[in-house]
Symmetry: C2
Subunit: 500 residues, 2 copies
């Protein structure tokens, strides 16, 4: 059989697995958006059966032999095809080297651990979560071991799962510079006289909020003919570029929450919708990882969505939608509320300045747990110390401390760094694209985003997973990934505002 036809058969295998995975994803979306309360256990059974099927397809020996053959004849493949083979190998190794027994054990323990976390958080009792967290950490090490990552490298394995190409050693100096600059910027902001007030909003009907956010997200480019937005407890973006499913939630006394979380999810959605459709299912049609994904959501949410030119267009429309509710709110107050900065104990409620501090804290603690420097039992103290040091406030309970996020209890280690890596990439792309697209602010002032979207499509979305986050950043911006553009952006955005 020719290399070409082997490649075609590999692609066909990958597409079949991708379509089954999409179905799995839809079941997850449905669970969050639609599932009746007493139907959860049946859904769990369905997911278990479908997982088994996907695992069987993913570990099929034919894929292994196709990969062997293609790797031996790699010189006959073009670069994009080699990128497909490389990523397929990565997935295949992960699927075949991790024993089914381990996957089953991990699934069971994750469920127990999740319920213990819910209970622990409700009662703010870390001792309930502690043994499960220990088990999750052991499992995470065991999993990394199957793929050949032992000792401290186990953490690198998990980072790489979410942000391919990244490692603790690469991240540490970047986060360290970002930490120092952010702490200093935060001091300046807190000492300034400008004060944002987000309690100025009252009684914004949900339906009107929804119409408004649909207008905004549609206008920035989300294609509602192949995607939708629904209500769920937590905002997220799932599905794929052919059928993108976003969610949001509404608070009648905080219209900015649903609006900005929807712009954020739209950033994710635009990335998925911009991946080359004809390559969906292979790495050429797959996002480059969570860090790059987060760069897209953050760029639209923050660099674009919180900018003055953006609001020069939308403020009038917001006032038309909510004339009574905004009568007493001046333009200045509105813009300050949109760009409020205030140290907060809870990551998901953090503003864009302090957000990275939350992430840096988690990265540092994760790294120390993997290296053995930090025992799980000492986590609450270490957490509170780290928060006090950076944010100047201290959690009164573990519920607003180390129990606030589900990630670790769900076994998701190495996920957090992607958020701040995404923020760094977003800012770095931002300065490059502003050089490439002069007059972009004028576009925003008339509600036009097509030049920006076309640029992102070309430079990021259409690249799929050919390059990892570091390679992609270097190719597009001409520089290595750095925290400096993010630091510059935060200063340029927030210092004038809070000095004013």
């Amino acid at each position: 059989m020719s290399t070409e036809s082997t490649y075609r058969e590999l692609v066909s295998d990958l597409i079949r697995i991708d379509r089954l995975s999409s179905i799995f994803g839809l079941l997850g979306w449905d669970e969050q958006v639609n599932l009746p309360i007493a139907s959860a256990s049946r859904r769990a059974e369905e997911l278990a059966v479908l997982s088994e099927v996907i695992h069987r397809e993913s570990t099929c020996g034919k894929i292994g032999s196709r990969l062997d053959e293609l790797e031996q004849n790699a010189d006959q493949l073009e670069f994009p095809e080699r990128a497909v083979v490389r990523e397929a190998r990565r997935q295949y190794d992960r699927a075949t080297k991790i024993p089914a027994e381990f996957v089953a054990r991990k699934t069971t323990l994750a469920s127990e651990s999740f319920h213990a976390w819910v209970n622990a958080r409700e009662n703010s009792d870390f001792s309930v979560s502690r043994p499960h967290l220990n088990t999750q950490l052991q499992l995470a090490r065991e999993e990394a071991g199957y793929l050949g990552f032992s000792g401290e490298a186990a953490y690198d394995y998990h980072i790489d799962q979410h942000a391919p190409g990244l490692s603790a050693a690469v991240i540490e100096p970047l986060f360290s510079r970002l930490n120092t600059a952010t702490v200093s910027l935060l001091q300046q902001i807190l000492q300034s006289t400008g004060k944002a007030d987000t309690s100025i909003f009252k009684g914004f009907p949900e339906d009107t909020q929804e119409s408004f956010l649909r207008a905004v997200t549609g206008s920035i480019g989300f294609d509602y003919t192949r995607g939708r937005i629904d209500r769920a407890v937590h905002p997220f973006c799932s599905g794929n570029g052919a059928d993108t499913r976003m969610t949001t939630r509404f608070n009648v006394d905080n219209p900015l929450d649903s609006l900005f979380s929807s712009i954020h999810e739209t950033g994710h959605g635009l990335y998925e919708q911009g991946l080359p459709m004809e390559h969906h299912g292979t790495s050429l049609g797959t996002a480059a990882g969570m860090a790059v994904h987060e760069s897209q959501s953050r760029l639209w949410e923050n660099q674009v969505g919180r900018s003055r030119p953006f609001w020069e267009y939308w403020e009038e429309r917001l006032r038309t939608a909510f004339p009574e509710q905004l009568k007493q709110v001046s333009s200045h107050k509105l813009y300050l509320a949109i760009n409020a900065v205030r140290p907060n104990l809870i990551r998901v409620d953090a503003d864009e300045v302090t957000y990275n501090l939350h992430i840096i804290i988690r990265f540092d603690l994760e790294r120390r747990m993997f290296s053995g420097d930090l025992n799980v039992g000492d986590l609450p103290g270490a957490w509170n110390e780290a928060v006090r040091e950076r944010l100047g406030i201290t959690p009164e309970t573990d519920a607003e401390g180390c129990l606030q996020d589900v990630h670790w209890s769900g076994g998701a280690f190495g996920y957090f760094p992607s958020y701040s890596l995404g923020n760094m990439i977003a800012a770095q792309l931002w300065y490059t694209l502003r050089d490439d697209l002069p007059g972009l602010d004028d576009d925003f002032r008339i509600g036009k985003y097509d030049r920006l979207l076309a640029w992102l499509r070309d430079k990021v979305h259409l690249q799929g997973r050919q390059f990892n986050a570091l390679e992609l950043t270097r190719r597009v911006t001409g520089s290595e990934l750095s925290p400096d553009p993010l630091i510059r952006y935060l200063k340029e955005r927030y210092l004038p505002l809070y000095a004013g």
Copy 2:
């Protein structure tokens, strides 16, 4: 291996297939309720991959050998277990005897045929549909042939697919009596002075309609903790008893349409929710077929939902929900509108008296097409003649004649009879249960349906598919299936109303 453990393994195979089929069903529901307009081709790909998986699971040789072994040792099995093996054999034979090549060909042609039908109906041009209808008929014969049904028996195969145990020879005399009695009853109604007017409704807001129908369907017993109702172009009930998904649609000038279609779908939903949960996936937890299913939807919609005692409770609540809209509508007019009888060319808009005539026409034409008595090319003329003869009106176009239903173009032959068989079973159950449950009308007068639902649970729902429609009717009512109770019910319901 013991017979007992072989049986357990068979059940585990069947449950796995059932859960995958449930996922397939959810994708179908999502397609009708949520799917963005440009996402259809991706969904088709997902369904194709999942179909392949389900087909592979369903034709797995291990199931065949387990069935062989269990059939040889049938004496070691209890009756319910034998019912499970019997139905599993039926499914397995169908899955293995029909070649994959045929299934693929049928799927492709069904899609072409469907699009031709949409086009033909839009332009009322039968010639567009004719060749496809011919192909569908040939395919239907071919499929029946694989299972050993040739010649006229091919039609029986298709009837049996939807209503196990039924055949054209059984149905023909039942429908013949029903036809004669209905035509005569219709004459009496049309000659009466009582006239229903359904154009008395204007401006019923959709949201209030929805609240009202949720109150009604919840009160008759639909369990919304394991089911939901959404909006779709056509009302239907999908899913299963652990997660039942109904749909409805709203017309602001016809609140009865969404209300009665929702009560109808609730009847289906109650049946699914009443199947024994611990047996979901085997025939013990599966509905007895479409005819029995339709008996449940019709009984709640018609025998219960259009009755005076039912409305003695709900009329006041309807008026509270729509005070202005109903101010000019007297109780008598409302009840007449609920029980309007008027010959209509379109089956789905037909009332419960004339509905069966629509079905009898289709049964007769299907039978003649399978026997070769009727060429597809002669269908429009034969259709119009049959309609004129029974309903006294004639379609002006084929769009309101033989092109109105999608069934045949989709290859669904033998499906129509289930609707009227269901009506017959519903009426036959109705008289039995009224004997068993004295004072039932008083229950309805205070909005109570628990005794009725418990009776249906016990006699019908909990029986699963142990018995076919004929056996079940005989066991529950003590009589053979007959059109007489339905004829009696229609006379008792409509003659006083239209003589009044």
